[in-house]
Every structure is written in structure tokens, then in C-alpha cells.
């Protein structure tokens, strides 16, 4: 009975997907996107228009996304719980992984910071660089499961970065503008220090995401094995 209803549901879903293709209207024209493309370079001074949309025109959506990530990481840590100190840990990894982790850690750190800081000029930004930073801090834990990261420092950095995102948005309001409008001068187009507060906002986002995901991965790998 369950198989029959499942097959019926899937056939219906397939027909719905086919029907949507007729109505999708691909290759039609869009208005908002073209309008943003023409004014973003002068208004914000960012060369990467996706960054301009994420931080400038839809900054509130990014704030909500950071909240969702924070909720998921905190709930994950709550669900998994702390480990009993008497349980046995995994043994250290082999020679290749230990040496590789020691060599890769500074490289990953530099690449992550580069991608975060150049988010408004080239493809990249806070989220991509934050994920690379998280993997940079998680690699030594993979190599030596005995050493774990200090959760107090990680939580402190995460809280500080998240709060500074909101503070930078609030500082703008003293100028009479709306919350999270990008200001503080545009600078020369295409330079590293241009586009007002956009690099600062992305730096806060990158640090927050990196610290959060590193803490989440450390929690997941720390939890006891189920047997």
C-alpha cells in the first residue's frame, strides 16, 4: 500500500515538473536585475555585483542567514552533548595526514583570508572564505584527535564578529540613513580599500561563519562513537 501511494505521488510530481517547464517563461526579461546592474557600480563602488546585492541591497537577508546558522550550530551542540572524559579517543592519524595537516594549515589560512578580503572585487566573499577558514582549523583535529580546539575562544570570536556586523549596521544610522546601508566613502573603484563598509561587513561575516563551522565540526567529531 505504501509503495503504491509512493509511486502515485512520484508520478504526480513528475507531471508537475513537466508542466512547470511550459510555464516557466525562460528568456523573458527581468527588471530589477538590470536596474541593479546599471547603478551598483556608482552607488556602492563594488566591482562584484553579487556582493553588492548580498551586503548592500539585501543586507537584512544576510543578517537573518547568520541567525539561522547560529541557531543550527547551537542546537547541534545542544543535541550532541558533551563527551564523558573517560571514553577512549581515536588514535592519532598516520604520518601523511599529520605532516600534510601541518603544511596545509598556513596555506589554507592565507587563502581563506584572501578570499574574504577580496570579496568585493573578485568572486568570493565571507561565506566561501569562512568555510575555508573552518576547514583550516579543523584539519589539525583530524590529524591528532587528542587535541581539541578551545571552545571558549571560538565562541568569543563568533560572538564578537556577529555583534560587530550589527554594530557597523547601527553606526550608519547616526548619519540619518537606514540600518545596514553601506557608507563611509566609495574610494577608488577596483582597489582593495574601496566600496565603503562592504569589506568590513564581509570580514565580520567570514570570521563568524569560520568560527561557527569549526566549532560545529569539532563538536561532531568529539562526540562518542555509538556501539
Amino acid at each position: 500500500m505504501r509503495r503504491f501511494t509512493s509511486a502515485l505521488f512520484l508520478i504526480g510530481l513528475g507531471l508537475l515538473i513537466v508542466a512547470i517547464y511550459q510555464q516557466l517563461g525562460l528568456q523573458a526579461s527581468s527588471n530589477i536585475g538590470q536596474a541593479i546592474n546599471t547603478v551598483a557600480a556608482d552607488q556602492l563602488g563594488a566591482a562584484n555585483f553579487v556582493t553588492a546585492v548580498v551586503l548592500g541591497y539585501r543586507g537584512l537577508d544576510t543578517l537573518v542567514e547568520l541567525t539561522i546558522l547560529f541557531t543550527a550550530a547551537t542546537a547541534g551542540a545542544l543535541v550532541l552533548g558533551t563527551r564523558k572524559p573517560s571514553t577512549k579517543r581515536d588514535p592519532d592519524a598516520g604520518f601523511i595526514l599529520q605532516t600534510g595537516a601541518d603544511l596545509l594549515f598556513p596555506l589554507l589560512l592565507i587563502v581563506g583570508l584572501y578570499i574574504i578580503m577580496h570579496g568585493h572585487l573578485t568572486p568570493g566573499g565571507g561565506f566561501q572564505g569562512g568555510v575555508i577558514l573552518a576547514s583550516a582549523f579543523f584539519l589539525p583535529i583530524l590529524a591528532r584527535p587528542g587535541s581539541s580546539i578551545d571552545h571558549h575562544w571560538v565562541s568569543f570570536i563568533e560572538g564578537l564578529a556577529g555583534a560587530s556586523f550589527i554594530y557597523i549596521g547601527l553606526l550608519v544610522m547616526f548619519d540619518g540613513k537606514a540600518f545596514l546601508s553601506p557608507v563611509a566613502g566609495n574610494g577608488v573603484f577596483g582597489e582593495l580599500f574601496s566600496a565603503g563598509t562592504l569589506p568590513l561587513l564581509y570580514a565580520a561575516v567570514g570570521l563568524k561563519v569560520g568560527a561557527e563551522l569549526a566549532g560545529l565540526l569539532a563538536n561532531l567529531s568529539d562526540t562518542e562513537a555509538v556501539d
Binding site: S6, Q27, N37, E65, L69
Partner: protein, 153 residues
């Protein structure tokens, strides 16, 4: 083989196929971890469909390099939304995997049929009510000589 398959149709088939595979996995699987895999596939298909809806032939990437401004650039708003969606997807995935580990620790199994029965038992025991018995289950056998016992629990 048709030579002039256009790009939109092929990518639409990919997105629709991923959505169908994800839905089939969720509805038909019996192992909890495979359901989580199917949810991740479904999210990937939905992101691809969202980005495809804003694609026009012959547009350029919405980034200005070396002060060379192209004539028509792609729409940056759906790209920003899909970026947000991918990051949220990984957050949901992390929480889901934490819950799966917790379920395994509490019940010892990941088969959803067994889990459903054990959870119903636990809920009924905690609430103090009788266990829900389906109408097809055989009635419990009564020992001879016990008078007045109830037929169903």
C-alpha cells in the same frame, strides 16, 4: 540524436531529475541516513532550478574586471539568494546529522519502521495510555479460567 538541444532544456532536465530523485529517496527509503542524503539531493536540485530561472543566453558574469563593462550582465539577485540557500542547507544538514546520532544512541537502530513502533510505545508509556493496536492485530490470548478480562488493551 538531436543536435540543437538548447542549454536550458538540458539543465532543466538535470534539476527536475535531482528533485525527483530526492523526493523518491525521502518517500521510499527505510534507513534514516539515506533519507538525509535524499534531502541534500532535493536541496541541490531546488538551487539549480532557482538559478536556471534567471539564465539568459549571451549574458556575461555580473563582475566588472579591468574597467571593461560588458553590455548585458546576468541578474545578480537570484545568485545572491542561491548563495544564502546553499549555506542554510549545510546548517540544516549539520543539525539533522546530530539528531540522527542521538536517535541511534537512544534506540539503537536506524530503521524507520522499527523506530516508529518503539516511539509509539515510548509515547504511550509516558502518557499512561494503552498502546495503539491496529485492527488487524490478533487479540491477546486469555488464560482459561480468567473471567471478565478485557479483550483489547
Amino acid at each position: 540524436m538531436d543536435i540543437n538541444l538548447d542549454i536550458s532544456l538540458m539543465i532543466y532536465i538535470a534539476a527536475g531529475g535531482l528533485i525527483l530523485a530526492g523526493s523518491a529517496g525521502i518517500v521510499l527509503s527505510t534507513h534514516l541516513l539515506r533519507i538525509i542524503f535524499a534531502i541534500a539531493l532535493l536541496e541541490a536540485g531546488a538551487n539549480l532550478l532557482l538559478l536556471l530561472a534567471s539564465y539568459r543566453d549571451g549574458t556575461a558574469v555580473p563582475i566588472i574586471v579591468d574597467d571593461h563593462i560588458p553590455a548585458v550582465m546576468a541578474d545578480p539577485v537570484p545568485q545572491a539568494l542561491v548563495l544564502t540557500s546553499i549555506v542554510i542547507g549545510v546548517g540544516v544538514l549539520a543539525l539533522a546529522l546530530g539528531l540522527v546520532i542521538r536517535v541511534q544512541r537512544t534506540y539503537g537502530t536506524l530503521d524507520i519502521r522499527e523506530l516508529r513502533e518503539r516511539m509509539a510505545e515510548d509515547i504511550a508509556d509516558d502518557a499512561g495510555i494503552g498502546r495503539p493496536v491496529s485492527s488487524h492485530a490478533p487479540l491477546p490470548v486469555q488464560a482459561p479460567g480468567v473471567v471478565g478480562a478485557d479483550a483489547n488493551e
